[in-house]
């Protein structure tokens, strides 16, 4: 089941049932519209938070630059790679679900879930080290934003892991797993990934 070639499946699907294709049909909405409504709304809300952060740091850059100096960029990069890898696995899970290769889809989902859990562990470790080491009062404006952004994001990751667990139940517990369910779950999970890309750049890297 796990040895099927995606290229061969895509080629075969041109002559057989369209559901065997791993690629979405043209003009196909990937997942439920209600999830997209939520995702786009969430992105706009986060944009408002980003605007407040950039506005504050542009007005008083010193506390933000000093605070950034106390962050580990390596941990930020590690978590970015973990979440990107998780996103890849979940995207491949959707492709395998579309090709009705449910065992393969489940394996990709398990890998994606494990990476998501790994992200939470690394983030927990980073918080522990930061709280344990403390930070100067002068850097407080930066760390208020740091804990707010990373805290809000971790809540999103936790909800994403719950959604991935529901997708696991869909894949393993039903005879005909719904492709739309996989797409909808993946849409939420990728939003978690792209929010982290923005948070990583704004908290760890900008000057």
């Amino acid at each position: 089941m796990g040895s099927a070639n995606p290229a061969a499946i895509a080629q075969r699907s041109a002559h057989s049932a369209p559901r065997e294709s791993i690629e979405p049909a043209s003009r196909h909405c990937p997942g439920q519209g209600s999830m997209w409504f939520f995702v786009i709304g969430d992105l706009w809300i986060f944009s408002c938070y980003f605007a407040c952060y950039i506005h504050d740091r542009a007005r008083h850059p010193e506390p933000f630059l000093q605070g950034q100096q106390l962050l580990s960029q390596g941990i930020g990069v590690l978590n970015t790679v973990i979440l990107l890898t998780s996103s890849l696995f979940v995207a491949l899970c959707v492709q395998a679900t579309r090709a009705r290769e449910i065992v393969t889809a489940s394996r990709f989902l398990a890998l994606g879930f494990a990476c998501g859990a790994g992200f939470m562990l690394v983030k927990g470790g980073e918080w522990y080290l930061k709280i344990h080491a403390g930070f100067p009062e002068s850097t407080e404006p930066f760390f208020v934003y740091y804990f707010m952004f990373t805290g809000l994001h971790v809540v999103h990751v936790a909800l994403g892991l719950l959604i991935l667990a529901l997708l696991w139940r869909e894949l393993r517990g039903t005879k005909e797993p719904r492709v739309e369910f996989a797409e909808t779950s993946a849409t939420y999970w990728h939003m978690v990934d792209l929010l982290w890309i923005a948070i990583f750049a704004l908290l760890y890297l900008v000057r």
Partner: protein, 93 residues
């Protein structure tokens, strides 16, 4: 599984990881000297982040094959984010 991993999505993932490393290099703290405000670094880091977000939206979220209303919404938000961040960074001080 390996057949899926040889597909185009893995190439997208490689690009994303490479872009992450480049942005890390661009925004690296270096020798521990106090950080300074730097518009060029900020613009570079934000531009790379936007490219990464576009790759995730287009390929992982499969918006490249989505209806036009969804593609315009995603790209509209991304353009707004880019302009907002750079404008506030430049003119809020």
């Amino acid at each position: 599984m390996t057949a899926y991993l040889r597909g185009p999505l893995t190439l997208v993932w490689m690009l994303l990881v490479a872009a992450t490393v480049v942005s890390w290099w661009l925004g690296a703290r270096g020798d521990g000297r106090p950080l300074q405000v730097n518009l060029a670094v900020t613009a570079g880091v934000v531009a790379i982040a936007l490219v990464k977000i576009r790759l995730v939206v287009w390929h992982f979220m499969e918006v490249r094959t989505a209806p036009s209303w969804l593609r315009y919404n995603c790209d509209g938000w991304l353009v707004f984010l880019a302009l907002m961040v750079l404008a506030l960074y430049r003119y809020s001080s």
